[in-house]
């Protein structure tokens, strides 16, 4: 399944670079929501998530247009998105941000939930945002996007063993939010 999706992407890339613009549109349809989510749960701002998502696709197209090759589109676009988020935080460190941004990101860590009950989206979002950034991105990729350890390892540039350790840490952190 994973392999056939990759082949499909490669064909779409070739078609796009040969002038079939709709092929790139199809790639956007396939990945835009996933990339948006990935960015959104990292920056937790809709406007910024939208901006960085469109930038990710634009950068990818520019890379293709320059004649460079992309063998694994999924891996590539996640990596571009990840780097854009890193750049975004770096640039934020340098400039003074409006107060509204800082306030919005304060997460209430005192959320205690019962894992047996069905949690609301808002609760889940709060729990996710309470996780540390490096742990959070792996939880997103593993439990929201259903990517394999191997795929995650390639995106976050870590070994599969490392990824497993981080998932274990996520479980440990989440224990603090569970009702005894």
């Amino acid at each position: 399944m994973q392999e056939s999706s990759q082949i499909e992407d490669r064909i779409l890339i070739i078609r796009a670079t040969e002038g079939d613009a709709e092929a790139f549109g199809l790639l956007f349809d396939k990945y835009s929501k996933r990339i948006y989510r990935f960015i959104y749960y990292k920056v937790s701002r809709t406007e910024i998530a939208e901006d960085l998502t469109s930038q990710s696709f634009l950068k990818t197209w520019e890379h293709l247009y320059e004649g460079s090759k992309i063998n694994n589109f999924q891996q590539w676009i996640y990596r571009v998105a990840r780097n854009l988020v890193i750049d975004y935080y770096r640039s934020r460190e340098k400039e003074e941000l409006p107060l509204i941004y800082q306030e919005e990101e304060i997460i209430d860590g005192s959320l205690i939930v019962d894992p047996e009950s069905s949690l609301k989206l808002e609760e889940l979002k709060k729990l996710l945002l309470s996780l540390k950034s490096d742990i959070r991105e792996i939880v997103i990729l593993k439990f929201i996007e259903d990517l394999s350890i191997k795929e995650i390892a390639k995106i976050v540039d870590k070994s599969p063993g490392n990824v497993r350790v981080i998932i274990h840490r996520a479980i440990k952190e989440l224990k603090n939010n569970i009702k005894d």
């Binding site: 056939s4 002038g19 613009a21 939880v139 997103i140």
Partner: protein, 495 residues
């Protein structure tokens, strides 16, 4: 427990951007891709790439399918279907063929084998060029593009062969063995044949640009041919020198033996003769005894036969002389060009500033020089002085190349001048016809036309006499040169 919590995170996949935003960005991206690739057409390479991706996907899970496909491919290749369609550079078979050639080059470990393979490929490129030139169901632009590609590849193959041969020479600098000489001979013969065969391409194709590219490649190949021929001549002369010195040593030894025998006392002579009688049991042994170095000389001579002989070198050189002889007619155009430039210069003072006027004045003596050099080359060739004969041929080549460059520039000027003249003439004729038809009766207009015709004829006569006086004729080649050329020189070229 937290595992269950983690599983609930899946619900968050409902989060997404607004449909409006998604649509907007999609439109923007599609437009951007369209703008960037507006002039791009889907190439066969990308179709092939897509096809191969799908194909590999289908085949990979089954090794049986893969093997079957390979067998089918081999069979198809074997039946020659590939060979038939493999001379068109844009074809898939051609790409496969070139890929195969590159693989062969990768496996050529030694520079010797690399040289041989490159020569083989150069031969192949030449055949492709001839086939493409003969192919009729092809657009002129495509023909031009394909022949240019193939001919340039030929040049690359020859350059690669020369480079690998240089490596061989470098490695065996101390002792240039028969392998190096054999390869040099192979290279020279291959290049010489390719130069001649490319003439066929020029004769078939009427496209000016193709002719120019082929000529350029021929010139490059001639340089390679000159270098390797020089090496061969050196080798022949070296071997002949060796042989001569061995014969001299032998003669000196024989002389010394005879004087020694004259000085020997009688009984010693008897003893010596008896010794000779014992050893000389047959004619052959007697000869061997009388000429101790004969075997060695014979062996050396055989060695030369294996690598390169004077006859072989002469044959290649004779081809070069024939080629130079044909070029003489071209150089003759310099005289015409000179006449033309003089006429234009007189008519239009502005053209006097052109560099070309100066250049033509400098090279006006070229035809005479070339004729003289060719006569000298043939004389040197007849006298067996191959090295100097080759130098003369190279000299001729240099002069002809320079002359050809100027001639082509002059021809361009001539063409533009002719176009201007034609325009003027048409305009004048139009004016004249309107004015005469208005003013003169029919009989009188005929008279005017007659005068113009007489003037035209006179001018033509004048120009034909002036060119016949200055244009050099092709020198009829001597029998000695003709004999050495494998293919006899065509009669019309020698007249």
């Amino acid at each position: 427990m937290p595992e269950r919590l983690l599983k609930q995170f899946k619900k968050l996949d409902q989060t997404g951007p607004s449909a409006e935003w998604q649509e907007g960005v999609r439109d923007f991206l599609v437009k951007r891709v369209s703008q960037n690739t507006i002039t791009k057409k889907a190439s066969w390479q990308s179709s092939l790439e897509i096809f191969s991706i799908v194909w590999v996907r289908k085949l990979l899970p089954s090794p049986v399918k893969m093997i079957t496909a390979l067998i089918i491919l081999t069979l198809v290749g074997g039946t020659g279907l590939m060979a038939q369609a493999s001379y068109i550079p844009s074809g898939a078979f051609y790409t496969a063929k070139r890929f195969g050639e590159n693989v062969q080059l990768v496996f050529a470990i030694t520079p010797q084998s690399e040289t041989k393979i490159n020569l083989k490929f150069a031969e192949e490129r030449k055949k492709e060029a001839v086939k493409l030139a003969k192919k009729e169901d092809i657009k002129p632009e495509e023909k031009k593009e394909y022949i240019n590609t193939v001919v340039k590849s030929l040049k690359q193959n020859i350059s690669a062969a020369q480079t690998s041969l240089d490596i061989v020479k470098e490695r065996e600098k101390e002792n240039q063995n028969s392998d190096t000489i054999k390869l040099t001979k192979e290279l020279t013969e291959n290049v010489s044949q390719n130069i001649d065969d490319l003439e066929e391409v020029k004769a078939i194709v009427s496209i000016k640009e193709v002719k120019a590219v082929v000529t350029q490649v021929q010139n490059e190949l001639e340089k390679v041919e000159d270098d390797s021929l020089k090496d061969l001549i050196k080798e022949v002369e070296k071997k002949e020198k060796q042989d001569n010195s061995e014969v001299k040593v032998e003669l000196v030894q024989a002389e010394a033996t005879s004087t020694e025998s004259e000085l020997l006392p009688e009984e010693n002579i008897d003893g010596y003769q008896a010794e000779v009688a014992v050893e000389a049991s047959g004619n052959e042994t007697t000869e061997a005894f009388a000429d101790p170095s004969a075997d060695q000389v014979k062996k050396t001579k055989e060695g030369v036969t294996e690598t390169v002989t004077r006859e072989e070198v002469q044959q290649i050189l004779a081809k070069k002389i024939t080629r130079a002889n044909k070029k003489i007619q071209e150089v003759g155009k310099i005289a015409e060009a000179f006449d033309l430039v003089e006429t234009i210069k007189d008519a239009d003072e502005e053209i006097a500033d052109y560099d070309v006027v100066k250049e033509v004045s400098n090279v006006v003596d070229n035809p005479a020089q070339v004729q003289e050099a060719l006569t000298q080359a043939i004389t040197l060739f007849d006298n067996g002085n191959l090295a100097k004969a080759l130098d003369k041929v190279i000299e001729i080549k240099e002069i002809t190349t320079k002359s050809e460059a100027i001639i082509s520039r002059i021809e361009e000027i001539k063409e533009s001048q002719e176009a201007v003249d034609k325009n003027n003439k048409d305009n004048n004729q139009q004016k004249a016809s309107t004015s005469t038809s208005e003013v003169l009766p029919e009989s009188q207009t005929g008279k005017v036309k007659g005068v113009v015709e007489v003037v035209d004829v006179d001018l033509k006569k004048e120009s034909s006499t002036s060119t016949s006086e200055t244009t050099p004729k092709i020198i009829p080649l001597k029998e000695s040169v003709k004999k050495k050329v494998q293919e006899p020189v065509k009669a019309e070229n020698l007249k």
